[in-house]
């Protein structure tokens, strides 16, 4: 897999930033020709993950890349925070499990809405989530 373009990292410190991330992801997803449904899925996943960073990670940064694997193009997003991290990732991925005031759908939902989902986290070490949606 090779990276074709990388956007300047975006900071997420408040809910207006989440809106900006959504708009930027939408633009890139449209650019590589994702279908409307797939655009909606990746933008929704981005919204969930950006909000997670805000609610649990004390904010963080988002990078947007357009990637290529053989002839396929995709959008790859990374969400990186330096928050408290997640001690039990399997449990955090279960629907309905939340340590905040949300619905607990963020991580599991974002995973279902992506083609690839990678999470790295440990207690006290922050969280990094990378998702990819292929055309």
């Amino acid at each position: 897999m090779e990276t074709l373009t990388t956007e300047r990292p975006m900071r997420v410190d408040n809910s207006e930033d989440v809106v900006r991330v959504r708009q930027e992801v939408r633009k890139r997803a449209a650019e590589i020709g994702l279908s409307l449904v797939d655009q909606t899925k990746i933008v929704t996943a981005a919204s969930e993950l950006a909000r997670n960073m805000l609610d649990y990670g004390g904010g963080g940064i988002v990078t947007i890349e357009i990637v290529r694997n053989l002839s396929r193009r995709g959008v790859r997003l990374a969400f990186i925070d330096e928050g408290p991290g997640i001690a039990d990732i399997d449990r955090a991925l279960e629907d309905g499990v939340t340590t905040g005031g949300g619905l607990g759908l963020g991580l599991g939902g974002a995973k279902r809405l992506s083609n690839e989902f990678v999470i790295e986290s440990a207690a006290g070490r922050g969280t990094k989530v990378v998702i990819t949606r292929w055309k």
Binding site: N14, S15, E16, V18, V19, R22, Q23, R26, L36, V37, Q39, T40, K41, V43, T44, S47, E48, R51, D95, G102, L103, L105, G106, G108, G109, R112, L113
Partner: protein, 129 residues
């Protein structure tokens, strides 16, 4: 601060959400709607989301909250105009908005609210649908 306008349409309130919602706007809408239901004596709330390109769990929760609070104030909430791609995504996300009534468009949403009112007036014993 920006606010989302609330229109009175007969005995119902109509809210058209067109902008990308952020927290404060969503909270302000919940408060404004609740106050307006009481001051206008509204029996229904129509929330038109045809302008929304996505509904995430944050917006989903807002819609659920509005429906729950409206119900306590004796008003029905109907979410109308959801885009097909949004519906597909919401189900995959795991959010099926079970507490919220939906209709394809404003007209059908009004019919839904109207139908309930007629039903209530015609048969007081069966007011609790």
């Amino acid at each position: 601060m920006d606010r989302i306008p609330i229109l009175k349409l007969g005995y119902a309130l109509l809210v058209t959400i067109q902008v990308d919602m952020h927290d404060r706007l969503a909270l302000a809408l919940e408060e404004d709607l609740t106050a307006k239901i009481v001051s206008a004596g509204a029996r229904g709330v129509l929330i038109d989301i045809s302008g929304l390109e996505i509904v995430d769990s944050f917006i989903g929760r807002m819609l659920d909250n509005i429906a729950a609070v409206s119900r306590m104030l004796d008003a029905d909430t109907v979410v109308v105009g959801m885009r097909p791609a949004v519906a597909i995504t919401l189900v995959e996300l795991g959010l099926s908005l079970t507490g919220v009534k939906t209709a394809l468009n404003v007209e059908r949403g009004m019919q839904l609210i109207h139908g309930r009112l007629i039903g209530v007036e015609a048969d007081d014993g069966d007011a609790d649908d």
